[in-house]
């Protein structure tokens, strides 16, 4: 009886750990745990192996700041990627989003956040020193500042643009009308920005 109660407590603990993850709540965590314990061979054991490997081998790339199990990371080590163009992003999630778009074949630099005066996040808290070091490479032609279109993201972009001036061409992502959106439903700020940054047709 005590043993089964203990087992129940372990399952409850796993449910609460999963429920704390982004995108999962208690209900979906219960479903996931039930799935794992009823499919031990196909789901639970491969998951344990993957998580253990991630835990023991996960490293931060010393060049770009991305998380990978290889050092340097797959992107930095890929000889097919151009070393002439560098894309600066705030987080790993942003790097993954750009990789999903399959539109960029250069290398990345992950800052690990954005400057925020109100939260006390200054340049020394971000991966900026290594970016400036990389920017000194004469092979580098362009640096794309792909920080978020938020006040903090753009404050970071302006700061970096100032620091990087004279090293390589500094550009930023365009802002405007998202694909599939209707003007009627767009916010005023984006609409005004899209008008300001219109280009010849």
């Amino acid at each position: 009886m005590a043993e089964s109660a203990e087992r129940g407590a372990e399952i409850a603990r796993l449910i609460s750990l999963l429920a704390a993850l982004p995108g999962l709540g208690p209900r979906s965590a219960r479903r996931a745990v039930l799935h794992l314990i009823t499919r031990r061979e196909e789901s639970l054991k491969p998951l344990i192996t993957a998580l253990t490997r991630l835990d023991t081998e996960m490293r931060q790339c010393p060049q770009c700041g991305a998380i990978d199990i290889r050092v340097p990371c797959r992107i930095c080590a890929d000889p097919r990627r151009s070393g002439e163009i560098l894309c600066v992003v705030e987080h790993m999630g942003d790097l993954w989003a750009l990789e999903r778009a399959e539109a960029f074949r250069g290398r990345y630099h992950v800052l690990g956040g954005a400057l925020c005066a109100l939260d006390g996040i200054g340049p020394e808290d971000l991966n900026i020193a290594s970016l400036l070091e990389r920017a000194r490479n004469p092979e580098l032609r362009e640096i794309i500042l792909a920080t978020n279109a938020t006040v903090d993201g753009q404050t970071t972009a302006h700061y970096l643009a100032e620091k990087l001036s004279g090293m390589a061409t500094v550009s930023r992502l365009a802002r405007g009308v998202p694909i599939g959106s209707e003007l009627d439903y767009m916010d005023d700020g984006t609409l005004a920005d899209a008008l300001r940054q219109r280009r010849p047709f």
């Binding site: 005066a117 006040v151 753009q154 404050t155 916010d187 700020g189 005004a192």
Partner: protein, 210 residues
Amino acid sequence: MEWRDSGYVLSARRHGESHAVLTLLTERHGRHAGWVRGATAKRMRGVLERGNRVSVLWKARLEEHLGLYMVEMEEAHAARLMDNALALLALDCLAALAGALPDRAASPSLFQSFGESLSRLASPMSAAAALVSFENTLLRELGYGVPPETAAARIIHDGSREDDMRKSLAALDALGSRLLADVYAPYGRTLPPARLRLVEKFRSADSSRL
């Protein structure tokens, strides 16, 4: 309990996965926080950017509760300022300084000064004058005296006179000392880093004109 008001976004901190605790500088309820459901939704993300003016409905069971905010955009200042590095720094500075105001203490004059300052951030000269005016109002609202050095800079600058920036810089030095001594140092705090960086920018803009 519920009320409607207008306010400028000072900060929006994520709460859980898709919600946020929003802090506004409101017209009739001062610096006031509230919880926003679905703050990370596409429709809301652009609204909750610092500096935007929003109309807000606050609801709570008791007055001392955090309460629920329902927010709609009034004026999209953040998007307008995003291409101007100095304006973004000044926006950070204004928001940080507004943090010195006690919670829920109504200050219509500071609200008005915040709005006026946002419209004067295009050039270093007008931004410096706007910061002088805002800090004067802040000190008055907090019950402290205004340094005499700021008197000359209190005139609304038209941004055309050569010595405007000098007056503003002198006034900002005096205001900075007063803010530090009366507002920040008693609580073991220093002036907001954004203010220090902004004044430094004003100084370098002034010296590059010479």
